[in-house]
């Protein structure tokens, strides 16, 4: 019997054949933490250990509340910087580099074939680079720092075959929302989620990141898109010399055992919108078009890349955001922000009436930036719309693609981009 990507990746990590269902003691190649690193360091100190076991395997990125929105956040960051200095953590990215799930692969830490854990649920994003990557909690991140090990159950795999054609203004975000809307937020519970099919093969790395980013909203443990030529191109440009020998492009065997195969036919599927207050409350955009929106947030680790802003500008270029609607633009990293500046995309967005915020999680977390007033509605390209997510339980959040976000900002109501 052949093996799935997940069985291969975890087997490679522990040095023997494994099958789905087994619990293994794995040794992550990378452990990612962010603003929660201060809290994690406090737990780490309770373990009675002085030194992080493998400091070179830690990646620490400040992104959740940057720049610090109050003294507690500022102290939090200070504590992290002190810990980084004390332990000699090489891969520390301060507030000026960007959102962790964008920065980690940009900086070459998403090595194909590797095992990455992170104290953030959207760590599943790096399946787009052929890595087995999954979210864990703060306490186990602290124990991973101390011991270099973590228990993981080898997941069964659910394969999603995406067929048909992507219509006008339909993209990876719509594929993910359609899947989650059809099958529910627990449709992929505990499973490794593997996307295959001709549509997936032609998607850019940026679009594949969207799919893998949303895997956790489907209940999945990790996401995966094929470790193919596009991944090879990315890895050859980004993975530093010192880690090149670790690269392995793992793919599922044709005769691998899948728990389930689901076919998702995108023919005739239009732009999708997740309605308040769950990600699986999905409707076609036509069903919700016309609802007034106070704020549009276009950014985040889900859809804050060049491809997303280029798509948005197809609609926004030369036009104005509707009166009474606030458009927030959040480039996912300094690298993206810089490219937008150099290519004039920032000026075009500013001229359209947008507020451009610094790369960071910002409005997505509800800790600062873009918090909603009572009764306000926000349409966002982020990955979660739970009640209170943007800092106010009396607000409403819709999720959609950058195309729907841009169209909505132009009209001040939820808008089908195909209608413009």
């Amino acid at each position: 019997m052949g093996k799935t990507f997940s069985e291969k990746a975890l087997g490679r990590n522990v040095g023997r054949d494994v099958v789905a269902g087994e619990i293994v003691q794995a040794r992550p190649d990378v452990c990612l933490t962010h603003d929660n690193s201060a809290a994690i360091s406090a737990t780490f100190r309770k373990l009675g250990i002085d030194r992080v076991k493998h400091p070179e395997r830690l990646v620490i990125i400040l992104d959740h509340c940057v720049p610090a929105a109050g003294t507690k956040y500022a102290q939090n960051h200070k504590t992290i910087r002190e810990f980084v200095a004390e332990q000699g953590i090489e891969h520390f990215y301060d507030l000026n580099i960007g959102i962790c799930h964008q920065v980690l692969p940009e900086q070459g830490h998403a090595v194909p074939g590797s095992l990455i854990v992170g104290s953030d649920s959207h760590t599943c994003t790096y399946g787009a680079f052929g890595a087995f990557s999954t979210g864990i909690g703060r306490s186990e991140a602290a124990v991973t720092w101390a011991t270099g090990e973590i228990w993981l159950k080898v997941p069964e795999t659910m394969r999603i075959e995406v067929k048909g054609e992507l219509g006008e203004y339909v993209n990876a975000k719509d594929i993910a929302l359609k899947l989650i809307g059809d099958r529910g937020a627990d449709g992929g519970l505990y499973k490794a989620l593997e996307f295959t099919g001709p549509i997936i093969e032609v998607l850019s790395i940026s679009s594949r990141m969207v799919l893998c980013n949303l895997a956790v909203e489907f209940g999945a443990k990790n996401g995966y898109t094929p470790a193919d030529e596009k991944v090879r191109e990315w890895a050859e440009a980004r993975v530093p010399q010192g880690r090149r020998r670790e690269i392995e492009y793992l793919v599922s065997d044709p005769d691998a055992a899948y728990a389930e195969t689901v076919t998702l036919d995108m023919t005739g599927v239009g732009p999708q919108v997740a309605c308040p207050h769950t990600v699986d409350n999905v409707q076609p955009v036509e069903a919700v078009a016309g609802r007034p929106v106070d704020q549009v947030f276009l950014g985040t680790c889900t859809n804050g890349r060049i491809e997303d802003f280029e798509l948005a500008l197809q609609l926004l270029r030369g036009r104005q955001v509707a009166a009474g609607c606030r458009l927030l633009i959040g480039p996912a990293s300094r690298e993206i922000y810089r490219e937008m500046a150099e290519r004039g995309l920032l000026v075009e967005l500013i001229d359209a009436g947008a507020v451009v915020i610094n790369p960071g999680c910002g409005p997505c977390l509800g800790a600062h930036q873009g918090i909603l007033a009572d009764g306000e509605v926000c349409l966002s390209t982020m990955n979660r719309n739970f009640k209170g997510r943007m800092g106010n339980p009396n607000g409403e959040i819709y999720l959609a693609s950058p195309a729907v976000a841009a169209a909505t900002a132009l009209k001040g109501v939820i808008t089908d981009p195909r209608a413009l």
């Binding site: 929660n36 909690g137 228990w151 505990y190 739970f386 209170g388």
Partner: protein, 171 residues
């Protein structure tokens, strides 16, 4: 609580897909770290009555996918801070399941029983025997995998790891 195998308390009943944003809101995740303060915010956006009225040993009973969403372990720790005895659900979200183990919070998956348990009723759980007793009767539940049972029994991952590493100086 780590050594007690018998849990007895009142049922707090909720529905499906109870996410970690309503269990412990994101706006507190970096600013509220003291367990007593965390306890006051538990389930704040779902049930404002919970934090003030929950008693030690009470049990949360919920539908499928309990604890979905953000990986924040405060969702589990704010419940242990309130001395919640256990969470019984039709299914658990993966990261919450791990965080509950790490917090020493017993999680019990019993999809076939959830509908038979009433809000406010008294419930008893014998972790050692793997039996839940409620108004509808006695129900067996499977034990946690052997690889992780020790973590819950030790009272959580920190206590467990200290023992493993030999840095445990508690008497």
């Amino acid at each position: 609580m780590a050594d007690s195998k018998l849990i007895e308390g009142k049922v707090w009943k909720y529905g499906d897909d109870i996410n970690t944003d309503v269990i412990f809101p994101g706006k507190y995740t970096y600013t509220v770290t003291d367990p007593a303060e965390m306890a006051t915010h538990a389930l704040e956006d779902l049930d404002p009555d919970f934090a003030g009225k929950v008693q030690a040993g009470d049990v949360i009973v919920a539908g499928k996918n309990f604890g979905c969403g953000s990986s924040r372990e405060q969702a589990a720790f704010c419940l242990t801070a309130n001395r919640v005895g256990a969470v019984v659900a039709a299914s658990f979200s993966r990261i919450f399941f791990r965080n509950a183990i790490n917090a020493g919070l017993p999680t019990i998956e019993l999809p076939q029983v959830i509908d038979q348990i009433e809000a406010g009723e008294s419930l008893a759980i014998d972790l050692g025997r793997g039996v839940l007793t409620c108004g509808a009767g006695e129900f067996s539940f499977p034990a946690l995998p052997p690889e992780v049972i020790g973590i819950v029994e030790a009272g959580g991952l920190v206590a467990y790891t200290r023992r493993r590493l030999g840095t445990d100086t508690a008497t």
